[in-house]
Amino acid sequence: MLIDMHMHPIFYGDICENEDEVNFRGDTFGVWKQGPMTDEELFAEWKICDLTKAALLPLDVTTAEGGWIVNNDQVEKLCSVHPEKFIGFASVDPNRKDALDVLEKAFKEQGLMGLKLNPAKQKFDPNAECMEAIYEICEKENKPIIFHAGLSWEPNTPTEFCHPCVFEKAIMNHPNLRICLAHFAWPWVREMVMLMIKYPNVYTDTALLYVDSPEEQMMELFTKDMGPMWFERCFPEQVMFASNGPRFRMFKIKRALDKVPMRDFARENLYYKNALRFLYGKEVKEW
């Protein structure tokens, strides 16, 4: 089994009826020279790396940018078409007045499995008072949060809200809330490592290809940016496979990770078991 915990369904054909909206998504997310793709194209790529499931991440940038980079209804729609393949996440702009209503609806009515937020893009402080109610809903509903962390190629994303240590107070105050600081918070890999060692409720993912080839980047991450044994010794249950499609092609990230030496238990954790723990908060034997 292989689960990709970080996909942006910006160009998925079933939600690309409106050309202006697709252009808004591309410009706001900062990805170009790609266009709507059919399910056939999408799943051809899944097939060559045996991808089983993928988490689809929307982003609500209503107050900052005037729209959504894929909205919760669209994620719900995609999941209804392929419930066996897609894990739908919600998003909400913490600065909107009806933020809590949007979130409650996403979890209780739309069946979405977690929350995606990007403080730099959405222009909020993860330690702000308005965030407490959002964290409480996530805890109450047993839903994890994925925060963007580290370098962002999305336009208009000041890096001050991308540093992993920005999230530490929220992590400390909510030990029962599962939080993923995505992209290994690159280039702050060691700070990310520090947080995972200190806090078992903190996760990260492998959605990074910021320098070099996939093979070089993954080998550097697991053997140089970190000591070669750190993952399996120190936080084997806190790193998840992820690609950040459509920025990076998932089968190339997988191909690169297959070449990184690690024990079988650690590889299984990386490829799917940690994702299941993150999503459900407990060991899941079958899905």
Binding site: G30, K33, E41, A44, I48, D212, S213, R247, F248, R249
Partner: protein, 142 residues
């Protein structure tokens, strides 16, 4: 007279030999052109157009030769963030293989048919699949 048709193909693996010989011959046959040329051109820079004999053993040898000439783990320069794409380039192997194979082929057309050797099959060769691909076939003549 000029007739242009497009062949579409979804490749299903990273590297793939897709035989388009019959499709190209049919386009020529239906074009109405009796004497002239046919041009076969890929729309992409990580695919090739190749003319060779459609035998699995020949395909395997060609594939292995190209892989030896351009290993995937070479220290390519084209492996960095591309602002115009918003993505990281990681397909230099495909670009280089495409450069080696070429992106087109051309045949004479006489009496409404392609003039070619019996072993001359035409391939779209995928070097960065899976992807949706297009090939332009232009028949020119009278």
């Amino acid at each position: 007279m000029v007739v242009v048709e497009t062949i579409k193909h979804l490749s299903e693996s990273v590297s793939e030999f897709y035989n388009i010989t019959e499709q190209v011959h049919n386009i020529v046959k239906n074009s109405g052109v009796t004497n002239g040329f046919v041009l076969v051109l890929t729309a992409h820079t990580t695919t090739g157009i190749m003319v060779n004999e459609a035998l699995p053993c020949v395909e395997k040898d060609l594939d292995e030769m190209l892989e030896k000439m351009v290993p995937v783990d070479s220290p390519f320069v084209h492996a960095h963030f591309l602002p115009s794409y918003g993505a990281t380039s990681n397909n230099s192997q495909g670009h280089l293989k495409s450069a080696l194979t070429g992106n087109h082929c051309m045949f004479p057309v006489m009496d409404g048919k392609i003039v070619c050797g019996g072993a001359q099959d035409i391939y779209l060769v995928e070097f960065d699949g899976p992807q949706a691909r297009k090939i332009f076939v232009e028949v020119m003549g009278e």
